[in-house]
């Protein structure tokens, strides 16, 4: 925890399907690296957090404080990767599906 940066960034998360009870029908993978995004999108946002133009404006408006109640932009997944999952269907036939957006590659302030 001490090593984690405060700024919006990708954090490590390994998901084991057994932990969420899906291991009964998922054959492979047993687990995968999902990652997640966390951290602050404070003004001024560095380029490294890839702020959208909207996020930049929102951040400025929040910093100026003219409009009350405007939160910081959110730290969310930017680029994501798909994941092939091999599972058993209702008839116990094997199915392979490639699900999009299953793991985070980069995070951004949006």
């Amino acid at each position: 925890q001490w090593a984690e940066p405060r700024v919006c960034s990708r954090r490590y998360l390994r998901v084991d399907f057994a932990d969420i009870g899906w291991n009964e029908w998922i054959v492979l993978p047993k687990s995968f690296d999902a990652y997640y995004c966390a951290g602050e999108c404070e003004f001024p946002m560095p380029k490294v957090v890839r702020p959208s133009n909207h996020a930049t404006i929102q951040s400025i408006v929040r910093a100026v404080g003219i409009v009350p109640g405007i939160p910081e932009p959110c730290c969310v997944p930017d680029k994501m990767n798909s994941l092939g999952v091999l599972f058993l269907d209702e008839n116990r036939d094997v199915v392979l599906k490639v699900y999009p957006n299953m793991s985070v590659e980069t995070c951004a302030c949006r």
């Binding site: 960034s9 899906w22 995968f32 990767n81 269907d89 036939d93 599906k97 299953m102 980069t106």
Partner: protein
């Protein structure tokens, strides 16, 4: 990129890295998919090939395997494939039929002839290559006694040695699916004799259907296919929420949309905070919070109930599902 905390050692692998053969075997055996299950073995190989990032099996995102069940149709053995697990959102790209064939060439008969030249048996002219046999594909809807329409035929040439043959049967599967006849059965033509193209100990054939699931890009699609229970079942006080039996694992959002359906407005979309006094909004039960305003997770029937229904259960209705309260009123009436 911002600095990223160093993950533990396994993180060095991509999300779905190449899987070692041993791991595939372990996974297969753990799920009872032993070596005789050729379909499972083929799927494990496909996973190994396409499970990595960005790879699209057959140009789509889904591959379904269907193992044959040996049955009797019209007093003759047939291979039956139950395709009912195909989803409406899955566009079939191609379908391959995989059949193990044993050699039927007369090599075995020729050997004794060379040794016993004078034998009567050996005066017979040497037999030529065996005649081609045809595998006829028919399709029927579930719970139909009819024989079904002939959807196509495959000419089978016996191989020189026992091996698996893969044949493209995309038009057959597409036509059957289009007709809503999701029980496909394959039978040798009457002149073919034996039930299968191989001996009784030979592995059963299987189908692979490559499809593009158009619904996979929808929000929550992973739960629609992989989540098979309501994660908050105890918090559901309404009896109707757990009584919507259907073999379809997909989430049917339209069927459970609250409110009148006269307009096309999404509930709560244009509501501004503060417009409705909070007192008029009753606290939402946990299961509704899970479902969210746009989509409802369809509760699945219990495992035991599903098993009881079996493959012969009537197909899920394609009309709108009414909520249980409406159905109860209707029954009372």
């Amino acid at each position: 990129d911002p600095p990223e905390p160093a993950p533990p050692a396994p993180a060095a692998r991509p999300a779905a890295a190449r899987t070692p053969r041993g791991a595939l075997g372990d996974a297969a055996s753990a799920l009872g998919l032993g070596a005789p299950d050729a379909a499972a073995a083929h799927m494990l190989r496909l996973y190994d090939k396409y499970g990595r990032r960005g790879a699209r099996p057959g140009g789509g995102n889904t591959v379904r395997s269907f193992r044959a069940r040996l049955d009797t149709v019209d007093q003759r053995p047939a291979y039956v494939f139950n395709l009912t697990s195909l989803q409406d959102s899955e566009v079939i790209l191609s379908a391959t039929f995989h059949l193990y064939m044993e050699p039927h060439w007369p090599r075995a008969r020729e050997e004794p002839c060379r040794q016993r030249v004078r034998s009567t048996f050996c005066h017979l002219p040497p037999p030529g290559p065996p005649a081609r046999r045809h595998l006829l594909f028919r399709s029927i809807a579930q719970n139909t006694a009819a024989q079904g329409l002939l959807r196509g035929a495959l000419a089978l040439a016996p191989p020189l040695r026992g091996l698996w043959q893969a044949r493209d049967i995309s038009p057959i599967v597409r036509a059957a699916r289009q007709a809503g006849e999701l029980l496909l059965w394959a039978q040798l033509d009457p002149a073919g004799g034996a039930p299968g193209a191989a001996g009784p100990s030979a592995p059963l054939p299987y189908l692979l259907v490559y499809a593009d699931d158009l619904a996979i890009a929808e929000p929550n699609s992973v739960a629609g296919t992989l989540q098979r229970y309501d994660p908050l079942p105890a918090a559901d006080p309404e009896p109707h929420a757990a009584d919507n039996g259907s073999a379809d694992p997909r989430v049917r959002r339209a069927s459970q949309a609250p409110g009148p359906l006269q307009d096309n407005e999404l509930p709560g979309l244009h509501e501004r905070p503060g417009r409705v006094p909070p007192a008029r909004q009753p606290p939402r039960p946990r299961h509704e919070l899970w479902r969210g305003p746009l989509g409802a997770l369809k509760p699945r029937p219990g495992r035991r109930e599903r098993r009881r229904k079996g493959p012969d259960a009537p197909a899920a209705s394609r009309v709108l599902d009414f909520d249980e309260q409406t159905m109860r009123k209707a029954r009372r009436r």
